[in-house]
C-alpha cells in the first residue's frame, strides 16, 4: 500500500492475479499478488497475502489506515492465465480461472467495483500500477502491451 505517485510492479504473473486498488481522492493505492482462490481449504493459510479472500480484506484494512475510504476504492485486476495445456484438461487444475472468480467474488463481497480487468489467456503478464493516474500497464511476451 502506498501513497501516490508511487508505482507498483509485479513481474511475471501466470495463474496468479494482481489486484490493484485505488482511492484517487485520498491518493492511496495498493497491489496484491494472490496465488490461490481461497484460504478456507488451505492446509496452511498463514500467509494471508497468498489467497484472494484474505488478501482483499487485508488490502482494504491497510489502505484505510493510510486514509482511504472504502466506498471510494475501485479495483483493476490482471493475470489468471492458464499456462499449461496439461492442466487445462481438469477443472480443479484451472487455477487461473478459479483465481479470477475468487477475486471477483471477494471484491463484490467488499462492495468494491472492478473498473478494468485483463485476465485469462495462456500467457504471462508483468503489471505496473501507477497510483497517481490509476493506469495499469500490462506487458506480455508476444501478446502486446496495453493500459487498462
Amino acid at each position: 500500500m502506498v501513497r501516490s505517485p508511487d508505482r507498483l510492479i509485479t513481474a511475471g504473473l501466470g495463474s496468479c492475479i494482481g489486484i490493484c486498488l485505488i482511492d484517487k481522492t485520498a491518493k492511496v493505492g495498493g497491489m496484491a499478488h494472490i496465488m490461490l482462490p481461497s484460504s478456507i481449504q488451505a492446509r496452511n493459510a498463514q500467509n494471508r497475502a497468498k489467497f484472494a479472500d484474505t488478501a482483499v480484506e487485508d488490502m482494504i484494512y491497510e489502505m484505510e489506515k493510510l486514509g482511504a475510504i472504502k466506498r471510494r476504492i475501485v479495483a483493476k485486476i490482471a493475470g489468471g492465465a492458464q499456462m499449461f495445456k496439461i492442466s487445462a484438461a481438469s477443472d480443479i487444475m484451472k487455477i487461473g480461472l478459479r483465481n479470477d472468480q475468487a477475486v471477483e467474488s471477494a471484491l463484490a463481497q467488499a462492495k468494491i467495483r472492478i473498473v478494468a480487468k485483463d485476465t485469462g489467456g495462456n500467457f504471462g503478464r508483468t503489471i505496473i500500477f501507477d497510483t497517481e493516474s490509476g493506469d495499469l500497464l500490462v506487458r506480455t511476451i508476444g501478446h502486446g502491451e496495453k493500459i487498462i
Partner: protein, 206 residues
C-alpha cells in the same frame, strides 16, 4: 522427517548429484543418437534453492524463457521443469541441427519442437536414473512447452499444488560446445512428502 531440501546433508546432495550425472550422460547419448551431432553434457552443479530464487537463476521473473514442464506421478508426486533462456535455447538448437553458433535468430516451430524433445529427454533420463537408483516408479506426463516469463511459469506450477516444499532441487545441465557453454536448468519441485520417499529409497535417510 525432511520437510524440504534445505534440510539435506552433504551426503544426500552427493547422492542426488550422482543421479543427475548418470541422467545427463544418458541424455547426451540419446540426443547424439537422435541428431547425429556430437553432444557432450555434464552436471557441474546440483543445488538446493529457495523457490523464490528460481526465477533469478534464469534472469528474473519477467525474463522470457523456454520451459518444458512435466508432471510426475507414480511412487512420488513431483513436477519437473526444464528452463533455458532464449539465447541459450537458440545456441542449443544450432548445436542439435549441426549449425554454427548464432545461426538461429528466432525460435521457429522446428526449434521449439527440438527444445521440447530435449526437455523431454533430459527429464526422462533423470527420472530413469532416479528410478534405477531407488527402485521407484515415475510416470511423467507428455511435455508441455511454454515460451513466456519465468515468473509466470513458476507461479502457475506452484499454484497447481497450492503447497510445495519451499525449496527446489536444481540440476544444472551443461552442454559443451567449444567456447560456448549452454546451460539449462532442470528443476524438481516435489510435493511435500515426496522428497522423503525418494531419499529414503536412495538409502540416504537412515
Amino acid at each position: 522427517m525432511i520437510q524440504d531440501f534445505s534440510d539435506l546433508t552433504g551426503l544426500q546432495i552427493d547422492a542426488l548429484k550422482e543421479v543427475g550425472n548418470v541422467g545427463a550422460g544418458n541424455a547426451a547419448t540419446a540426443l547424439a543418437t537422435m541428431t547425429g551431432a556430437r553432444v557432450e553434457m555434464s552436471v557441474p552443479q546440483v543445488g538446493i534453492v529457495p523457490f523464490n530464487k528460481v526465477a533469478d537463476m534464469v534472469g528474473g521473473a519477467g525474463n522470457a524463457v523456454v520451459g518444458v514442464y512435466l508432471m510426475v506421478t507414480g511412487s512420488a508426486t513431483t513436477n519437473m521443469l526444464f528452463l533455458l533462456s532464449i539465447d541459450k535455447a537458440l545456441l542449443l538448437v544450432d548445436l542439435l541441427m549441426g549449425q554454427p553458433p548464432g545461426y538461429h535468430k528466432i525460435l521457429d516451430e522446428m526449434s521449439l519442437s527440438a527444445i521440447s524433445e530435449v526437455g523431454n529427454i533430459i527429464t526422462g533420463t533423470y527420472l530413469n536414473a532416479l528410478a534405477s537408483f531407488t527402485g521407484m516408479q515415475f510416470v511423467p506426463t507428455v511435455p508441455d512447452l511454454v515460451v513466456d516469463m519465468a515468473g509466470a511459469i513458476l507461479d502457475s506450477i506452484l499454484a497447481q499444488f497450492g503447497e510445495l516444499g519451499d525449496h527446489v532441487l536444481v540440476v544444472e545441465n551443461k552442454f559443451n560446445r567449444e567456447e560456448y557453454d549452454i546451460i539449462g536448468h532442470l528443476f524438481m519441485l516435489p510435493e511435500p512428502g515426496s522428497l522423503n520417499k525418494i531419499l529414503t529409497a536412495l538409502g540416504v535417510i537412515f
